[in-house]
Each structure stands twice: as structure tokens, then as C-alpha cells.
């Protein structure tokens, strides 16, 4: 009993001291150390009619995204993005970790390492966050082979090349568990990208990129389960009026994607060309056309493949009263042989961003 009382007194003496000690550590609880936090909400209303006259109407949350970023210590900074997305035709929602990565800040000039889960730098469109898409969804030539956005766990090394223009080379190794790859396979995926930028004038730039990504193919995406290497090339021209704030701006962009199935199959491919033009302070107009030639598996045998084409055309008008909100109206026509639909749709998309959201890359 005496020992129990002594023990109790001992706890009374030391526990408060320990608690107060916790709150005054060097890395303690100052609000100044809080990470930058932002939330983006993206909503979509859609009215469409297929070739059989069947109508589909919906209003849904397309995606909500929470972005947390901060410097970790003198050597790293971290980015974490949680996304909430509809599942089961919008009757339920899933939560996923879109990105959770460490990025080096202290390597020698020109080098950078990223570790964790990150957007795979393949092509120009695939690394974009959904709320940064120039159209409501990704071009068919991209989403057919890379999904709506390719993220995976792995390691990535970026190096700036010592050339007379801006040139970046990236090599990476991935777990290979994204929807594009066969998650059941133990093979890793790896790839690389080289990006070159030239200033054509003070206001105009040209970007030329080349990408390659190799991994165990997902049957759903490629109709074939062997190893696949996907090649891509992209070209982007941008012009922004330099003398006026929110003046006219033009983007013309194209991308070609070529999966190499290293077998005697119909050669799949995808491409798109898009253009966006800011014609007034807050107003943008855009047009996109693209196509995907893909294989779908029709039987048990690997040879039972059917080559199908999907074509799409989109036109949109975007009103962005500030950098933090936008309203977009879009008409899209999709001729999809895979789903056997000939779909004409009207979409209305709106999005907002609150909090401290990092600036997007050029």
C-alpha cells in the first residue's frame, strides 16, 4: 500500500512535468510550422444521349482533393494529396492517396530526387491534377492507356541537362501497381522522360517532350498481359501576351502515344490535339480532338483480340472569375467502339480552391 501511494505521488510529480516538457520542444507546436493546406472541389453535371436515344443525366462530385505540403527539414519537402472520388456510379465515395512524396531540396545544382507515391511524368497531360485539366476529362488517347492520371509508388531522379536551352531528364522506377499495370505481377515498372523548352520570343515558348514507360501490362488497358513499353511524344506551343495582365493567351498542344506490345498484335496508339485561347480577361475557349486504337480481349486465348477505335471531339467555354474558381461548359462527341456507344453530351463543370494551393507549373 505504501509503495502504491509512493508510486502515485511519483506519477503526480513527473507526469505534468513530462507533459509541459513535450509542449516546449524545439520542434513543438508552433502554428508557424503548419503545412500549407488546400482543398479543391470539382463537380460535374452531365446530360448525354447515346445512339439508341437513351438519356443519361447526372450531377456528381467529380473529385475533391486535399493538398498538404511543407518543408520537412533542411533536406526534404513533402507533398501529400488525398482525393475523394465517386464509386459505384456515384452512390458511394472512395478515398485515395493520390500523392505522398518526399522531394529533395539539398542535392547539388540541377539534381532532384523524389521518393514515395507521385504522378508519373509521362507525357504532358497525364501528370496533371484533375482540376487542372483543360477539358472535363483526359483526352481519349491518354486515358485509354494511362487512365485519368497515373500515380504510383517508386523513386525518381531528375537532372537538368547542361544545354543551351532548358532541358530536364527524368528516370524512375515504380512498383507497377497502378490500373495501367498488372497489379498481380511482381515485375517493377520503369521509365523516363526528357523535356526541352525553347523561348521562341519573350512571350512564346515551345516544349518538346519524349517519354517511355515499361511494365507488366494490364489486360483491361492493353488487351494483353505481357510486358508493355509505352512511348510518347508531345509538343506544346504557348503564347501569352506579356504587356497586359490577363491579356490574350494561346496554347496549342499535341501528344502521340504508342504502346509496344512486342507481339504480333494490332498496333495500338493514341493521340490528341488541343487548343485553348483566352479571349477576354476571365474567358477561355478550347477545342480538342483525339483518337485511340486499342485492343480488347474477346476470349480466353491471348490471340482473341479485337482492334477498336474511339474518337472524340470536345469544345468548351470556361469562365474563371479568379484563380480560385471556374465554371466550364463543354460539349463532347464520343464514338466509342469499345462500349459500342455513340455519345453526345453536354457537361457543366465547376470547381473551387480554398486555402494555400501551390502554383501550377508552366
Amino acid at each position: 500500500m505504501r509503495h502504491a501511494i509512493l508510486g502515485f505521488l511519483f506519477l503526480l510529480l513527473f507526469v505534468p512535468a513530462a507533459i509541459s516538457g513535450q509542449s516546449s520542444t524545439a520542434s513543438g507546436v508552433s502554428n508557424k510550422m503548419n503545412p500549407a493546406l488546400s482543398v479543391n472541389g470539382l463537380f460535374l453535371a452531365k446530360k448525354s444521349q447515346d445512339r439508341h436515344g437513351v438519356e443519361y443525366n447526372s450531377i456528381s462530385l467529380q473529385e475533391a482533393e486535399m493538398h498538404v505540403s511543407s518543408v520537412v527539414d533542411p533536406f526534404w519537402k513533402a507533398n501529400v494529396i488525398f482525393s475523394v472520388y465517386p464509386e459505384d456510379a456515384g452512390s458511394a465515395y472512395g478515398i485515395g492517396v493520390e500523392e505522398a512524396s518526399l522531394e529533395s531540396t539539398s542535392l547539388p545544382v540541377g539534381f532532384n530526387v523524389t521518393l514515395g507515391k507521385f504522378f508519373v511524368p509521362f507525357g504532358k497531360h497525364s501528370p496533371l491534377h484533375t482540376h487542372h485539366f483543360p477539358f472535363v476529362d483526359a483526352p481519349v488517347g491518354v486515358r485509354t492507356f494511362l487512365g485519368e492520371g497515373l500515380t504510383d509508388c517508386g523513386a525518381m531522379l531528375t537532372a537538368t541537362l547542361p544545354l543551351n536551352w532548358y532541358s530536364d531528364a527524368v528516370v524512375y522506377c515504380l512498383d507497377g501497381s497502378t490500373e495501367t499495370f498488372d497489379a498481380g505481377s511482381t515485375d517493377v515498372s520503369f521509365g523516363g522522360r526528357i523535356t526541352n523548352f525553347w523561348d521562341l520570343s519573350e512571350n512564346a515558348t515551345l516544349e518538346l517532350g519524349g517519354s517511355a514507360l515499361s511494365g507488366p501490362a494490364s489486360v483491361d488497358y492493353f488487351g494483353w498481359g505481357g510486358r508493355v513499353t509505352v512511348y510518347g511524344v508531345d509538343l506544346t506551343y504557348k503564347w501569352i501576351c506579356g504587356t497586359k495582365s490577363h491579356g490574350p493567351a494561346l496554347t496549342v498542344q499535341g501528344e502521340f502515344i504508342l504502346p509496344d506490345l512486342s507481339g504480333d498484335y494490332n498496333q495500338p496508339s493514341g493521340w490528341y490535339a488541343l487548343s485553348q485561347y483566352r479571349f477576354h480577361h476571365n474567358w477561355w475557349v478550347g477545342a480538342c480532338h483525339g483518337m485511340a486504337n486499342a485492343n480488347i480481349k474477346t476470349g480466353r486465348d491471348d490471340q482473341d483480340l479485337l482492334s477498336v477505335k474511339t474518337r472524340e471531339s470536345k469544345l468548351n467555354l470556361t469562365f474563371a472569375p479568379s484563380e480560385f474558381s471556374a465554371l466550364r461548359a463543354e460539349i463532347a462527341y464520343v464514338d466509342d467502339q469499345v462500349e459500342d456507344i455513340d455519345d453526345f453530351s453536354f457537361r457543366l463543370q465547376w470547381n473551387f480552391t480554398i486555402g494555400s494551393h501551390p502554383a501550377h507549373r508552366y
Partner: protein
């Protein structure tokens, strides 16, 4: 012998190249800061500028070619007060140069030299007030006294990074201060007494300038920073301008000219379109020339507004 000659040639080549190169490579975010850095650094620095004088520093496109300039920089001098928040962090990241990353001795926020920051928001700060600067109005370089203070601050940092030339940097900063101070009275004389005048600005870009020249502001066409003004607000401002004697409109070269011109015309008041920074218009090649130009234009507009 042949090898010795070759080695000597290589050493001479690189040695001469070294002699030709400046000791410090400085990148300035704004053209005003670039001009001040050149004046303070002299032949010991090589300066490049990210945002040219005719470009709106709030919305600079973060082109990779600008990141390339940062890659080799020894010193990054930036305005601060979050003026460059939309593009500088992206460029620093793409530049991948640890010498100028935030917190290093190679980055210098020039706002540290400013004694009194204007328009620091009180109460809650949120975006219902537009693209408000939570740390206060960042356009302090439009008061020449702040440019002088920035020059001295730059000199100290250059001296720290390049101690061999510390004396030269400090001396040049003092020379710049003396030159600017000797011209300030002349610029104010050029302006005369502005107490009977009132300014309507397009964007709240000119607060430091107005305070320095003693000109009172009575409104902004852009009701909330960064947001297009509503027709109702423009109408209110036009009515205010019409009923105020000695009023005139001030806009920057990159502002929406159509709205400013229409508002000034309907008010029946003069419109003066000013460069926001060095290089903003032809002939404004330096910081003193910027104030020469601005003061001349303001004086003309002020006189014209009193005749109407």
C-alpha cells in the same frame, strides 16, 4: 614540352575566363531590383531579371527559361511580401539550385529593408477581398526612399557572399543613396503642391508613390485586387470622380486600358498611364528615370485636372 604548352594554354584560357566573369551572379525578380543590384554590384556582379518592366509582377508566366537563370545564381533578390508567390516558388523548385533556396544566404527578401509597410490588412484575411496581399502592399519600390534602403540591404548581403569586394559594394550603395537623395527634391519640385488633387487608381499599386508625393487617393476602379470590377462599382467610381475637383485616374501599362480609358472619359478627367517598373516604357532605363517619367506625367495630369 608539348604537354606543358597545352596545359599552359588551358590554364590561360580558364584563367582569363575567370577574370572576365563577375564574382557574383545575381538574379533579380523585378527590373527595379535588377537595376539597383547592378548599381550596387558594379563590375563585380552579373545581373539577370525575371520579370521585365512591362510585365505585371503578379502574374508572370513561370517559364522554364527563367528557372534556368536561377540555376547558376549565387544570389536571388526578390521583392517579397508575397508579390511573387504565384511564380517564384515554382521557378526556385525548377531551378534546383540549393544556393538560392528559401532560408539560404543566397536569397534576399528586399522587403526587409522597408521600415513601414502600407495597407497591412486588419481583421480576418480571406479571398472575399480578392487577391489581397496578407503581409501588406508589396509595391514599396515606387517610393524612391525604399529603393535606397534596398540598395544598402543588397550591399550587405553581397559583402557577405563576396567579402573581397565588401568595401566596393557598401561604397556603391552609399553613392546610389546620395544620387537618389539629391534628385528627390527636384522630383517633388516638378510635381509641385498636389494637395488640391485627388487620385483614382486602377489597381492599388501606387500607394507608396502617392504617400511620398502627398497625393490623396479617393478610390480604386478595381474594387478587389485581381478581380475584374463590376459595372456597378465602376459607375460609383465614375460618379465620385465627376464630383471631385482636381481628380485624375492613374493606371499601370499592364492594366485593363479599355476600362480605365472609358472611366476617365466618362468622368471628364485626365488618365495617366504609368510604367510600374524600370523598362515599363521606352526611355525608362533606370530607377531615377522611372521617377523622372512618373513625376513628369503626374505633374501634367494634376495641372490638367485642375483646369477642368
Amino acid at each position: 614540352m608539348r604537354n606543358c604548352l597545352l596545359l599552359t594554354a588551358i590554364l590561360l584560357t580558364f584563367g582569363l575566363a575567370g577574370v572576365c566573369h563577375a564574382e557574383l551572379k545575381v538574379v533579380a525578380t523585378l527590373s527595379d531590383l535588377g537595376w539597383i543590384a547592378k548599381e550596387v554590384g558594379g563590375e563585380h556582379v552579373e545581373v539577370s531579371v525575371l520579370c521585365l518592366g512591362y510585365q505585371d509582377p503578379h502574374y508572370l508566366p513561370a517559364k522554364p527559361s527563367l528557372a534556368r537563370k536561377l540555376r547558376t545564381a549565387d544570389l536571388l533578390v526578390y521583392n517579397g511580401l508575397e508579390l511573387e508567390i504565384g511564380w517564384l516558388p515554382v521557378l526556385i523548385e525548377a531551378g534546383r539550385n540549393p544556393r538560392v533556396k528559401p532560408g539560404s544566404r543566397g536569397e534576399l527578401e528586399c522587403a526587409l529593408a522597408v521600415e513601414s509597410v502600407l495597407d497591412v490588412p486588419t481583421g480576418g484575411v480571406d479571398r472575399s477581398r480578392g487577391d489581397i496581399h496578407p503581409l501588406g502592399n508589396p509595391h514599396y519600390l515606387l517610393d524612391p526612399r525604399n529603393g535606397v534602403a534596398v540598395g544598402r540591404l543588397m550591399a550587405e548581403r553581397m559583402a557577405e557572399l563576396d567579402p573581397d569586394n565588401a568595401g566596393a559594394y557598401r561604397q556603391r550603395a552609399e553613392d546610389l543613396a546620395a544620387y537618389m537623395e539629391s534628385h528627390m527634391d527636384g522630383w517633388k519640385e516638378m510635381l509641385g503642391d498636389l494637395s488640391a488633387n485627388r487620385a483614382i487608381v486602377y489597381h492599388q499599386h501606387w500607394e507608396y508613390l502617392l504617400e511620398w508625393v502627398g497625393l490623396q487617393e479617393i478610390g480604386a476602379i478595381e474594387h478587389r485586387p485581381g478581380i475584374s470590377p463590376s459595372p456597378r462599382h465602376v459607375e460609383e467610381i465614375i460618379n465620385r470622380g465627376r464630383s471631385t475637383s482636381g481628380a485624375f485616374v492613374i493606371a499601370a501599362t499592364w492594366d485593363n486600358a479599355k476600362i480605365s480609358e472609358e472611366a476617365a472619359e466618362r468622368m471628364g478627367k485626365p488618365l495617366v498611364t504609368l510604367p510600374g517598373a524600370v523598362g515599363g516604357v521606352d526611355g525608362v532605363t533606370g530607377y531615377p528615370e522611372l521617377f523622372n517619367f512618373i513625376c513628369k506625367q503626374l505633374a501634367e495630369a494634376a495641372a490638367a485636372s485642375l483646369k477642368q
